[in-house]
Amino acid sequence: MFGQRGSSRSRVALAGALSVGLAFSLTACGGDSDSEGGSTDTQAASIDCAPYKAFGDLTGKTVTIYTGIVTPEDTPHKESYKPFEQCTGVTVKYEGDKAFETQILVRAKAGNPPDVAFVPQPGLLQQLVATGKAVEAPAETAANVDKWFGEDWKSYGTVDNKFYAAPLGANVKSLVWYSPKEFEEAGYTVPTTLDQLKTLTDKMVTDGKKPWCAGISSGEATGWPLTDWMEDFMLRTGGPETYDKWVKHEIPFNGPEATAALDAVGAYLKNDQYVNGGLGDVKSIASTTFQDAGLPILDGQCSLHRQASFYAANFPKETNIAKDGDIYAFYLPGKDETSKPVLGGGEFVLAFADRPEVKAFQTYLSSDVWANAKAKLSSGWVSANKGLDPNNLKNPIDQLSATILLDPNATFRFDASDLMPAAVGSNAFWKQTTAWIASGQDTKTTLDNIEKAWPQ
């Protein structure tokens, strides 16, 4: 009956429909990448070019880097390339992208890889090598790695007995953040065994505190801090050999060893008496971002927070991070005082081109010269490079991490979730442990589900 005017009305509607379609498509393309090169000339006079002579003259050449390291951590990186750029004439083009881990595979598969990528996960490294686009590390780089790094670090950059990627930076995950002031006032001592840690925790409860604070929320990556917890306890309750078998899936993900490890974590994180100081109940661990999780220590609302060395950057600038300051960290102890398992991570330099300037850059990054140059520039950074002089590190936490990494008694193990296939390491493991804390899913279901996700 009133249909006659339909055509003009629906034209209006169509215009609206088109514009909303446009809005949808516009929202889909966010995220611009920073491709600013670090080639401004500074302090040219003070640089000693002798160590770079061997690379020869590479004037006018360019090396492109693609990495997940973004502001503010990218500044010391760019700065640390300057001596190399000025002495060899190479221009280093740095591209930092938060979505690196998903984009690098796409770029490699599409035949559009950068010259060099900083890969933070050996599992991803293997996938990248499998694309056939990566090239083996040059002999000079391999020689550097043999000289300056441990066997295990070299093995993380090796795929099918071919050496591809030298380690770049490293971090120590087996740390517990605390307030030295609070410890002194309350008369607590830093625990040196797991039992002592438990006793300390109970003592804090008796003193009317909620000792631990934790948070695992991290957007799509929610859950990763929890996998670190479990890996740390897997290393301690099962031992390094069991840990290796577990990583390689030689023992099932849901076996008795893993069950014991996750239950040991549950004894802390699923205990209402122990968590979640200043942040809520057990469930609040799931909704607290990992960046915020350790901050209640500053207000005295919690006393202990297990998180990696890079967490130092999350405290406000004026916080005094020192052995006798507001905040410091201790090594998450082993079963007894003699065993010293250390969980950590790091990045690896994978090249997709074998031009001379790329080789020279890889060799430079794997040298002790670069490690020390970088150490002087940055805060919240360490390397497993044995040529690194801990005195060059300014930050007390970096010095502590370097001491732990370079300790001959330490048994270092790489973050398991970074070594496992992506379907487990960056999906099921994160998701299931998150459900374990957020909806009270039991340990058995959690581990069974992760085991099920392991690629056949």
């Binding site: 009956m1 009133f2 249909g3 005017r5 339909g6 055509s7 003009s8 009305r9 629906s10 209006v12 509607a13 169509l14 609206g16 429909a17 909303v20 379609g21 809005a23 949808f24 516009l26 929202t27 889909a28 966010g30 998903t102 595979l105 796409v106 996938q127 499998a130 957007g219 799509e220 990556a221 929610t222 859950g223 979640n276 200043g278 942040l279 809520g280 109940d281 469930k283 609040s284 799931a286 909704s287 609302q301 296939p421 992506a422 379907a423 960056s426 999906n427 998701k431 998150t434 459900a435 957020a438 909806s439 690629p455």
Partner: protein, 311 residues
């Protein structure tokens, strides 16, 4: 960018030149010539990737072994994937009708009222905010702080709960409540679009019809039921289907607010997560195909409705 513009100009120039060489009766040739670039670009940019995605959906995670319909089986049997399908159903069934309903109610209420333009601008504003920004805003709305010591709420929703004497709730954790809270964000964004289109349609209803209905003694409800609604029906359908298509593809809100955790994932988000996070190319492709298949009926219906009203 500049190079692309130059290229575009060059292509158009060549086309015009060739087209100019054909005289009067060769309309058909000219038409094909003009169509050629479109067809070419659609094939390269849409057809090939589409066919390729369907092809890849029959392969395993690494894309190197044919596994038949296993990926589709996974989508419809795996407990985690079933949650994804359930959530997508919630989104598609709820968002279009709720957003259209809110938009329509608002359009009718403010129609010819005082300060109509201002009232409309208020509800239209969310439209101009990107999905990601809207998600960030609402994440703060839902933010939770514990009921401990001197800790203060920073999220509006929890603050209201506290004012009403309740305890703060971790809104984004509990499933399926969290999915509905995410849907609320989409409704908030889309209601403005629905309002704008429907308001225009309402304004297009001839005054004499309204006058006649009034003289016949029709009340407000009758006016809506027998006059307004039938008159704006085509616009309502377009609005509902458009929002439905947009909702099926929803990705930004889920990704930004929960990253698909706590059982909030939807097909588009799961597709991204499987393809790029989990490196499961086959399952990712299969999810994309399912999404594609689900959109088709809505698009077809939309086009048919448009055709009918144009006829």
């Amino acid at each position: 960018m500049f190079a692309a513009i130059l290229l575009f100009a060059a292509v158009v120039g060549v086309l015009l030149f060739i087209a100019g060489r054909f005289g009067g009766k060769r309309d058909r040739v000219v038409a094909y010539l003009y169509l050629a670039p479109v067809v070419l670009m659609l094939s390269v940019g849409l057809l090939y990737p589409g066919v390729r995605t369907i092809y890849e959906s029959f392969f395993n995670a690494a894309g190197d072994a044919f596994i038949g319909i296993d990926n589709y089986k996974t989508i419809f049997t795996d407990s985690e994937q079933l949650v994804v399908l359930r959530n997508t159903a919630f989104w598609v069934l709820l968002t279009p009708f709720a957003a259209t309903g809110v938009g329509m109610l608002y359009a009718i209420l403010v129609d010819k009222a005082k300060g109509e333009a201002f009232a409309k601008a208020l509800i239209f504003l969310p439209m101009s905010i990107s999905f990601v920004a809207a998600s960030v805003i609402w994440k703060f709305m839902y933010e939770y702080r514990p009921d401990q010591g001197n800790v203060k709420q920073i999220g509006l929703v929890n603050q209201i709960i506290v004012w009403l004497g309740g305890k703060p709730v971790q809104l984004l954790i509990d499933s399926p409540l969290n999915t509905f809270l995410l849907i609320a964000v989409m409704i908030w964004i889309q209601a403005g679009f629905a309002m704008t289109v429907l308001s225009a349609a309402i304004k297009a209803i001839p005054d004499d019809i309204i006058e006649a209905a009034r003289l016949d003694g029709v009340g407000p409800w009758g006016m809506f039921r027998f006059v307004t609604l039938p008159a704006i029906r085509p616009a309502v359908i377009v609005v509902i289907t458009t929002i439905a298509i947009g909702t099926l593809k929803v990705f930004d809100i889920v990704q930004t607010m929960t990253g698909g955790r706590f059982n909030t994932s939807v097909i588009a988000n799961e597709f991204y997560s499987q393809s790029f996070r989990s490196a499961n190319q086959g399952l990712g492709a299969a999810l994309a195909v399912v999404l594609f298949v689900l959109v088709i009926p809505i698009v077809v219906y939309n086009i048919r409705q448009l055709r009918r009203s144009e006829a």
